[in-house]
Structure formats: C-alpha cells, structure tokens
C-alpha cells in the first residue's frame, strides 16, 4: 500500500521497552472506586443511583444527558457510598461530581440479553448499543463513539481507519491489546463496519510494534475487507488528521472533521470495547492502563476498573520515593496530575511517574528565531509567531496565525533549543479565547434578562392600571345602582 507523509513530526525516545514486555494483568479490586460523572466530551452524565444502594457490575450509574453525552456504569458489584465532589483527572485539581463505590468483592456481572448473531442485527442497533454501553474514544479524546457512528451512516464514509498508532512515548497498552487480543479487536472492527454499513477498514500500526503487527495481520487474514498497514514511527502519527494524511493522502481542511474527507477513525481499544458491548452486552467499565516511568518499580500494563485511584496503581506497581512529575496519558500530551488521589477514567491510557532525569532540563531563554518549531509542526503553523502573539495577548493575531488548528501536540516545545514553553502559551491563549467567548455569551444572556425584566415590569404596570380601571368602573356601577334604588 502506498503511504504518504505528513509534514514535520519528531522522533522522541520511545521508552516503550520499559513496559512493552509485560503482559496485560488484571488489577486486584481496590477498596473504593471513584467514578466521575464526566469522562467524555459533552454534557456530564446524571447520577441514577442512591446512596446505600447495591449495584451489580455493569449496572447503570448515571444516564447520558443530551445528544452529546455518554452513560456511566458500575465497574464492579458493590454499594454506593457517596455521590460527592472529588478531584478530577485535570491539571487544575478541581473537583467534579463523583460516585463512590465500595466493591463487595464478588465482582458479579449484571445480566445482559445476548444477541444471537450481531451481523444480522440492523446496523442502527450497533450504534444504539454502543451508546448504551457508554463507549467513548479510548485513545484519549473521549468523544462519544455512538455519535461518531451515527454521524457516519448519513455521510459518505469511504474508509474506516483503525488507529493503532500509539505514538506517545512510554505507552504500550494498545500494543499489548493488539498482541494479546487481536481476535477481539478485529471482531470489534468488523462490528463497527457493520454498524456504518460499509465494507473497508484499514488498521494502521506504527512499525515499531512488530508483534502487534504480526498478530493483527495473522488474525485479519481471510477478511478481504481488512487491511493491516505498518506506518512509519513518527510522532504525532496517532493524531487523527496526521494518520488520515499518512494512510489516504487526504488532508482534513482547517477547522474541519475527518468525516469531511470520508474517513471515520476509531482507536483499537475502542474497537475492543465495541466487541465487548455487542458480543456480550457488557458496558465499558474497565480499561488497560500502562503504568510506567522512571519512578515506578514494576512497569506494567494493567486492566483496571474505571474509578481506580492512580495511587492504587502506583502502590500496586511500587514506586521509589516521590515521583518528580505525575502524568495521566503520555509525556507529550498527557495531563499533569496535582497528586495521586485521582481516578482512572475511560480515556486514561497511561499513568506515568517520572523521575528527575526523564524531565527536560534547561531554563527558558529568548527565542532566537531559528525556525526549528516551524520545521517540525505537523499542522504547518509557525509556532514562534503564535507564541509571540500569545505573549503579547494579541489573541486575534494568534487566531490569524492558525491558533485554533494547533493540536497542542508539544512537538514545537520538544525541539525548541531555547526551552520555551510554546505549548503552554498556546493552551493559555486558547483558554483566554474560550473565556472571552464565555463572557460574551454571559453578556448576551444578561441583555436578554434585562429586556425580559423590562417587559415584565411594563406588563405588571399595565395589569395594575387595568385592575384599577376595573375597580373604578365597578364602584361607579355600584353607586349608580344605589342612586337608582
């Protein structure tokens, strides 16, 4: 298959060898699970359980609310102990509404009706069941999968692209999944194909994962509609737009979506979750997490129930002293965690406890305009110009230079010889833009409220005047009556 090349990109040290050799292990149940009510892009789910209630594994904990949302299910059987605020896996360390579950140790599944042959089901039913299972994009973006599938049926999708890129250093959870559960992943891919009524899928895997490639190729053999492709190892290959460009040569327009060029992208772990949901009716209640980094003693790939604390994972794997930096996700795009008392959510592919030597060193110095960042930017932006504008709070200027197309992939900051925190500046500028939009919405809303109030006051005054006139008329009529009598 002819491959294309996206512009820029870097080769950071992969450090995958730290955990690639360890097979997927099931993590023993922790004492408590903390399940946040928002683990997806969109509206938070609404809790549907009471405190003290006993739930079975896979039972609904929270309903999806609105069109862009996903339900959340019990990761094990046990008792609901609280519905409260708890630290979210977010750099701010701010709280989010969370259901606290105390496992009863039996890990007993709820009963689900099993479909006879999913390939005889009407395709819409696949998206429906995927929605009910609470499946979201498991590569980290956590976009509700059913919304993507539902959108795909009425657009002209010509390729289903399965993302086995896993381009972030350290992470090996998708690698292990493809090696050990290739059959299940392939089955999930076939089910997604059935759901979107289309026959062709390309499974793209970075060429540094030989075993995964072999296992997937062997399993996909015999299915004419599937093709397993080795793509070059180049960060950020796992980014949707960059992967589409590499495999199909198509470029997603600025601000556009993959569907616009006729491609639907799903992560391998999402395909696996679809297999579990459609074949066994099991909702998404656990995921594979890579626990790695220099401060971790036994680096592993653990299959953990959603809601397990990062602290539980670190204690299970052992760590030497306090890690210098704690991350959820990969080192390039992951979230810095304020502390380890933060739960694993549907999109958490890794927990990294980094030691000092693994962190970049050197303090920031002025930009020398060497253009290294321009050469490596996978989107084709000019990070140095963007940063200058962000620094001077020229948000409109930054927008003109394509700020909204920035992936925040960290490639520019990685190569910057002046150690400038470019990505941090872009995150800041994006936040300011979002704040501005929010303020504008609030101002519009305030204006509406003021107008509504004025209209109401007028209405009330009118009603008062009308009532007074009525009373006056009544009095006059009464007087007239009395006079007649």
């Amino acid at each position: 298959m002819k491959l294309f090349r996206f512009r820029g990109g870097i080769h950071p040290p992969s450090r995958k060898e730290l955990s690639a050799g360890s097979a997927i292990e099931t993590m023993p149940l922790p004492e408590r699970l903390y399940i946040p009510m928002q683990q997806h892009i969109g509206t938070p789910a609404e809790p549907a359980v009471k405190i003290g209630q006993h739930v079975l594994k896979g039972q609904l904990l929270a309903r999806a609310s609105g069109a862009l949302s996903a339900p959340i299910h019990a990761p094990t059987s046990g008792w609901i102990r609280a519905v409260t605020d708890f630290t979210a896996p977010h750099p701010s360390g701010l709280p989010i509404l969370t259901v606290v579950l105390e496992p009863d140790g039996k890990d007993e599944w709820d009963e689900f009706p099993l479909p006879k042959d999913p390939f005889e089901m009407p395709p819409e039913l696949i998206a429906e069941r995927v929605a009910a299972a609470g499946i979201v994009g498991m590569g980290g973006a956590t976009f509700p999968t059913a919304v993507k599938l539902g959108g795909a049926t009425n657009k002209h999708i010509h390729t289903l692209l399965i993302n086995g890129g896993e381009c972030e250093p350290y992470l090996t959870c998708d690698d292990r999944l493809m090696r050990e559960r290739a059959f299940e992943v392939i089955d999930g891919v076939l089910l997604i194909l059935h759901g979107i009524r289309w026959g062709r899928a390309i499974i793209a895997i970075e060429d540094n994962k030989h075993e995964a490639l072999e296992a997937m190729r062997a399993t996909a053999k015999g299915y004419g509609q599937l093709e397993v492709v080795a793509v070059p190892t180049l960060y950020p290959m796992g980014s949707e737009k960059q992967l589409i460009k590499t495999v199909t040569g198509l470029e997603v327009p600025a601000g556009g979506l993959a569907a616009q060029v006729g491609v639907l992208v799903q992560n391998v772990a999402t395909a696996y979750a679809v297999h579990e949901a459609i074949r066994y009716g099991r909702p998404l209640v656990r995921r594979i997490v890579t626990v790695s980094g220099g401060a971790v003693r036994d680096r592993r790939n653990l299959e953990v129930p959603i809601g397990t604390l990062v602290d539980d994972l670190l204690r299970h794997c052992g760590h030497d002293g306090e890690p210098e930096r704690l991350l959820m996700g990969g080192p390039m795009m992951g979230t810095v965690l304020p502390h380890a008392m933060v739960p694993i959510v549907k999109g958490s592919n890794g927990v990294l406890a980094l030691s000092k030597p693994e962190l970049p060193e050197g303090s920031a110095s002025p930009c020398i305009r060497c253009g290294s960042c321009v050469r490596v930017c996978p989107v084709g932006l000019m990070p140095l110009e963007l940063m200058k504008r962000a620094q001077n709070n020229d948000l409109d200027g930054a927008q003109d230079y394509g700020l909204s197309d920035c992936l925040s992939c960290g490639t520019c900051a990685y190569v910057c010889p002046a150690h400038l925190p470019l990505t941090h500046y872009f995150n800041y500028a994006k936040g300011e833009l979002a704040a501005r939009a929010q303020q504008k919405r609030k101002n519009d809303y305030t204006r509406q409220l003021v107008q509504a109030r004025q209209a109401r006051l007028e209405r009330e005054a009118q009603a008062k005047a009308a009532a007074a006139a009525k009373r006056k008329a009544e009095r006059a009529a009464k007087k007239a009556q009395e006079a007649e009598a």
Partner: protein, 177 residues
C-alpha cells in the same frame, strides 16, 4: 369670540412652524456609535462604572471621557468588542478579569423580605416573601445593587469559584535568562 379663535389659531400655526423650523435648523446629531456601544453593553443599568446607567456610559465611552475598561460585568470580552466598534486597540492584559464577583445570600441572616428580588436588574435572585432567597449564579453580574438594599446585610459579593468549566491555563511566567 371669532377674533379669539382666529388669533389663537394663527398664533398656534405660526409658533408650530417656527418650532418645526428650529427642530430642523438646530438639530443635534447623535453619534450613531453611541447606540452601537449601548447595544454592546449589558444594559443592566447597574452603575458600577460610576455613570447613572448604560446609556450615559456609552456616551462617555464614545466621547473618550471614560476608558473602554469601565464596565466590570462586561469583562475583557466587552472591551474587545468596544475596541473593534470604535477602532481603538486596547491592551487587556493589565485588566484584572480573574475574579468576577457574584452576589451570595447568607441563609442564616436572610429574612425573606423580597427587597432584593425587586431591585436585581437581571432577575438573578429567586425567592418569595418569608422564604430564604437564592442567587442564580448564571444570571448574576455582580453589580451589587442588592447589597445596598438588603436590610440585614445577608447579601455579599464574593469571588466566583473556578470550576472545571471556567478554569484556564495561566500565562507562563518566564524567568529572564
């Protein structure tokens, strides 16, 4: 009788014509930008800017007598919009937008007098006589009108707590090398 009617009619017509003439001749042109600026402002007439309402404030902004940053409820978003309308570029970085204020009711002191409900320009306070009132944060602009009117001092302005929805990355602080 006829003389009186005639003289008054003539007088009325003549004066009316004079008035009409004066209205045309001495017409004061209102800067159309004032209306534009007023439309951008929140319109809650809260008076935090020091002007009696949004309309006089808009006039002052257009005449250059007040800075674009005069409106606390409007925040940076309003400053940018005003700058675009008036063609002035403003540096908003110095503006402290970090801690928007919201009114909050202290439930232990509120006596349910409904005075604040009536005063609030955006109907952000909900309540009924002899019931504890509550401020709807989404609608509150932090204008403070309710605070002055509260007989028991149950209302106070407090900094808005950041949530996951409103939290933003801080600007990186570079140490000069």
């Amino acid at each position: 009788m006829l003389a009186a009617v005639l003289s008054l009619t003539v007088l009325g017509l003549a004066l009316g014509w004079l008035l009409g003439l004066a209205a045309r001749r001495f017409r004061v042109d209102v800067d159309p930008r004032v209306a534009q600026v007023e439309a951008l402002m929140p319109g809650s007439q809260c008076g935090q800017c020091g002007f009696p309402g949004c309309s006089p404030a808009a006039l002052a902004v257009v005449n250059g007598e007040a800075p674009l940053t005069l409106c606390p409820p409007g925040g940076k978003a309003l400053v940018e919009a005003l700058g675009n309308t008036l063609g002035i570029s403003v540096d908003t970085s110095a503006m402290n937008d970090g801690d928007p204020q919201l009114a909050r009711v202290d439930e232990t002191i509120c006596i349910g007098c409904i005075k604040c409900l009536r005063t609030c320009p955006t109907d952000a306070i909900v309540g009924a006589p002899k019931q504890i009132h509550v401020v709807m944060e989404r609608a509150c602009t932090g204008c403070g009108a309710c605070i002055e009117i509260c007989p028991t001092g149950a209302l106070a302005l407090m900094e808005e707590e950041p949530t996951l929805r409103t939290w933003r990355w801080a600007k990186p602080q570079l140490v000069a090398a």
